[in-house]
């Protein structure tokens, strides 16, 4: 079985110091890739090949890492899509969201759309790959797992449910090669000068504790987070469905 596995990696930033490092989720994508493909794993980064933080991925035991040279702020979508198609990738693994740059978490979705591939979010484990179909476990909230059968080629994002990345060692990191590839550069028209602004933390919903007894509080603390006021719509016409959604949006104050 030789499925071409590619892990896409980005430059991370340490949450408390902001210093460049391997991105946590991308490192998990590399770990998963190494467990699946061993030495045949290919790791790709679109960005600056002189970035030393990339060596932290090499330190996981990679001989080389392919870097599609891109300036900061370029739109890497097209470049990555073309590259993956040409490389004959069967399984592409990536983190859910970058720690630096735009970090919108949209890249996997846009990439899957562009390639016309299925996308699995929150991949926890690849159980088997047979006859062009992968059987995988997808992580759902609260420790649940969903078993999926997906045809290849496949794009999958990993988050913290995937195996912990192995330690990056100095020796292989120093020996490994950052292989530059010259590719076309596409300016990102959306990412203008003032397109970015600091994120504001999302307001939290106030938690009203109605519980009277300890047992109730326990239940409230351990129960699944749910809106409570929601309802399940089944077999309704599109018109009715849209009205229900609109009503909810107005109730929640999203639309006025």
């Amino acid at each position: 079985m030789s499925t071409k596995v590619i892990s896409l990696v980005s430059i991370g930033a340490h949450p408390s110091s902001g210093r460049a490092r391997r991105a946590e989720q991308d490192a998990r994508a590399v770990e998963l890739g190494l467990q699946l493909a061993g030495d045949n794993l290919q790791v790709v980064h679109a960005g600056d090949p002189r970035e030393e933080a990339l060596r932290a991925y090499l330190g996981m035991g990679l001989e080389h890492l392919d870097v599609l040279e891109q300036p900061a702020g370029a739109d890497v979508l097209g470049v990555l899509g073309d590259y993956l198609r040409q490389a004959g990738a069967q399984l592409v693994l990536t983190g859910s969201q970058a720690e630096t740059g735009e970090g919108s978490g949209m890249l996997p979705f846009l990439l899957a759309e562009k390639l016309g591939w299925p996308l699995v979010v929150g991949l926890a484990e690849v159980e088997s790959i047979e006859n062009g179909t992968a059987q995988v476990l997808q992580a759902l909230p609260r420790g649940q797992r969903r078993r999926l059968k997906v045809r290849l080629p496949l794009l999958a994002t990993v988050d913290n449910a995937a195996p912990k990345p192995r330690q990056s060692a100095f020796g292989p990191a120093r020996r490994g090669v950052l292989a530059e590839h010259q590719v076309a550069v596409v300016e990102d028209p959306v990412l203008g000068d003032d397109a970015l602004q600091p994120a504001r933390p999302r307001p939290k919903r106030l938690k009203v504790i109605k519980a009277k007894s300890g047992a109730d509080r326990m239940k409230a603390a351990t129960a699944k987070a749910s809106g409570g006021g929601g309802k399940v719509l089944k077999d309704v016409s599109p018109q009715e469905g849209a009205e229900a959604i609109l009503k909810l949006l107005v109730e929640e104050g999203v639309l006025r």
Binding site: S17, M60, Q167, A169
Partner: protein, 650 residues
């Protein structure tokens, strides 16, 4: 007949010994090069043997006297035997001298024999049980064979029977003592030991010196291995050093990890390295195994990886680098160097630092502290102390190196106490503030030489911008690294532990101290202050100045037992049967002291981790600050402060 038989036996044995020596030398030369002055080493060897080594052996009076008689008698008898019986110089004076020498050797060997009747568990058995008999046989045979030479018995006494008996005795004796010396018998320690002393990798240890800093890896040299993977990656004189082991087990008896039931025995580790350099398995090892690891399952070869063949990784990670084994070793073997060398390979090449190791190293790289705290919070503990920053003052008398204890709430109490003492003494001091980084101690001992050198270089760069007379720190680990390990990277400073500095302040009369009132006190010597840097007296002086009579533990001073917190051991956390700090707390309880004075944030954390009820733990700085009488500071006016309106809470 004896006159023909003895020369043949003697010279055959000597020839075989030379052959064995050449073979052994070839084994050592498989190691990597090491810069050693061969001739100067050989010239210095007798002194190192007679003075430095003897000092260590002298701690056990019984053994030192036994060894002097046996070894001295043997060397003398061997030389004289070669002259008298080998070259046939049948001179009566020489004969008498040989008789005296063999008697000395025989009486020494009797004591060796006596100790072997009921040997303690630390001693290796096996071939070592045979050694006293061989010594007695050698001495007795040559004694009887020399009687005619001295003219005490007529030539030819005893006839063929005696000749045959003496022939067997001499054969046994010279086999063990001449060629057994170079072919791997128990007497190998004499041959390898002498050369090991001559070409020791830390020549500074001799003549009363001290050399405890780890040797740096040359990271610029891409061809040099990153640490030790196979026995041949050690330097040749390290391999030679392993061969010098006498298997006396003094290291085993002192090792905190061995006592805690963790899979480490320093003596076995050194013997495993000998197996590695010669090839074979550990089935014939005649001492205590690594706790929980049966003998006979491990083997190695000079060019085979050590870990998970010869030695398990957990064995290497059990070490707390407390240096108790090195301190005890009469052959001056460097166990800790070897362990760190092998750890370096595991961390730098394999990325196999166990448990929290990888996380701690990542944190050190990304945040300059092992806990992964935001670097901007490094001075939060001193937010209200208005400390002077080096960046502002540029020059100061005392640079207070805070250390990573700055992020630990328990250690912050110590730091604040020390600041109080410094302020009371009126000395001019400042801190680096946010410019300070971890000293690199933990990274280095976890084998991450690259991160250590990076942290060290940055710290050296920072320190180079400022002028100060000395660095003072409350952390013996930072103290050791700054004092002994930054030098190789270009940072030479005068560094003091706070206990030394406080002792100086007290001696200079700069502190107005009251008397300690909190009951009886014992003192725990931190390894990195004591064994690593020889500072046993200053902390005790400080305690005496507080009116404390220290109730010494049985294991104190250079024999102090480690708290279990060194060498990254709490991070790699190898399971054992009990915890090292619990054992240390038992030592403390034996003194019935109500309080234990410490001088190290690691020791504080480890000992405070022992469940109550137990004696209280206080740093020296806290004890001093508690009894400080501040004269010029006006007593804080108990302000008749505005009775505050209760705040309304919603």
């Amino acid at each position: 007949m004896l006159n023909t038989l003895l020369p043949i036996l003697l010279f055959t044995a000597l020839a075989l010994a030379v052959l064995g020596a050449l073979r052994r030398v070839r084994m050592w030369r498989r190691g990597r090069p090491s810069p050693v002055n061969l001739l100067a080493g050989l010239l210095a060897m007798p002194r190192r043997y007679l003075v430095d080594l003897h000092h260590v052996v002298e701690r056990d009076k019984y053994m030192s006297k036994t060894h002097v008689a046996t070894a001295g008698g043997f060397v003398l008898s061997a030389v004289l035997a070669v002259l008298v019986h080998g070259f046939g110089l049948h001179n009566q004076i020489l004969g008498y001298a040989l008789l005296v020498a063999t008697v000395i050797m025989f009486s020494g060997a009797l004591f060796v024999f006596k100790r072997r009747l009921n040997p303690p568990s630390r001693l290796s058995k096996g071939p070592w049980m045979r050694l006293p008999k061989s010594l007695l046989m050698f001495a007795a045979s040559f004694f009887i064979a020399t009687l005619p030479v001295a003219g005490i018995l007529p030539e030819g006494t005893g006839g063929w029977v005696l000749v045959a008996l003496l022939g067997v005795g001499v054969l046994w004796g010279v086999s063990e003592l001449f060629f057994g010396m170079t072919w791997g018998g128990p007497m190998k320690h004499a041959f390898a030991g002498a050369l090991h002393l001559a070409w020791h990798r830390r020549a500074e240890r001799f003549g009363g010196g001290r050399s405890t800093g780890l040797k740096p890896l040359d990271l610029e040299d891409r061809s040099a291995p990153l640490g030790v993977e196979k026995p041949a990656d050690f330097t040749w004189n390290q391999l030679l050093g392993f061969d010098a082991c006498v298997q006396c087990g003094k290291c085993e008896a002192m090792c905190p990890a061995f006592a805690a039931g963790q899979p480490l025995n320093p003596k076995k580790l050194i013997q495993d390295m000998v197996i590695g350099l010669a090839g074979g398995t550990d089935a014939n090892f005649a001492g205590s195994p690594y706790p929980g690891k049966p003998l006979g399952e491990h083997g190695g070869h000079p060019h085979q990886p050590i870990v998970n063949g010869l030695v398990d990784a957990e064995t290497l990670w059990s070490c707390t680098t407390c240096r108790a084994c090195v301190e005890e070793c009469p052959m001056m073997i460097e166990h800790v160097d070897a362990i760190v060398d092998m750890r370096r390979h595991l961390t730098l090449e394999k990325g196999a630092t166990p448990n929290k190791g990888a996380e701690v190293l990542d944190n050190l790289i990304a945040t300059d502290n092992p806990g992964g705290f935001a670097p901007g919070g490094r001075m939060n503990w001193a937010a209200d102390l208005s400390l002077k920053l080096m960046a502002d003052v540029k020059t100061t008398e005392v640079l207070f190196w805070v250390g990573d204890g700055a992020f630990d709430m328990r250690n912050q109490r110590t730091l604040r106490a020390f600041v109080k003492v410094l302020k009371a003494s009126g000395v001019d001091f400042a801190v680096l503030g946010l410019e300070e980084r971890d000293s690199g101690d933990v990274a280095r001992r976890l084998g991450d030489e690259a991160t250590f050198q990076q942290l060290a270089r940055r710290n050296i760069q920072t320190l180079a911008q400022y002028r100060f007379q000395r660095i003072v720190t409350c952390d013996p680990h930072s103290f050791h690294v700054l004092k002994n390990e930054y030098g190789a990277l270009g940072g030479e400073y005068q560094v003091q532990h706070h206990s030394t500095y406080i002792a100086e302040l007290i001696a200079a009369g700069k502190l107005n101290l009251g008397q300690h009132k909190g009951g009886s006190v014992t003192y725990h010597d931190p390894c990195y202050l004591g064994r690593y840097n020889g500072e046993y007296e200053a902390p005790r002086e400080v305690l005496r100045a507080l009116g404390i009579e220290v109730r010494e533990m049985e294991r104190s001073g250079f024999r102090s037992r480690c708290c279990g917190g060194g060498g990254g051991a709490p991070i790699t956390d190898i399971p054992g049967k009990q915890r090292i700090p619990d054992m240390r707390m038992d030592d403390i309880r034996e003194t019935a002291a109500e309080l234990v004075a410490v001088g190290c944030p690691q020791c504080t954390a480890m000992l405070e981790g022992v469940v109550e009820p137990r004696p209280q733990i206080k740093d020296l700085a806290e004890l001093v600050a508690d009894v400080l009488i501040e004269q010029d500071a006006p007593a804080p006016a108990t302000s008749p402060a505005a009775k505050r309106e209760p705040a309304e809470v919603h």
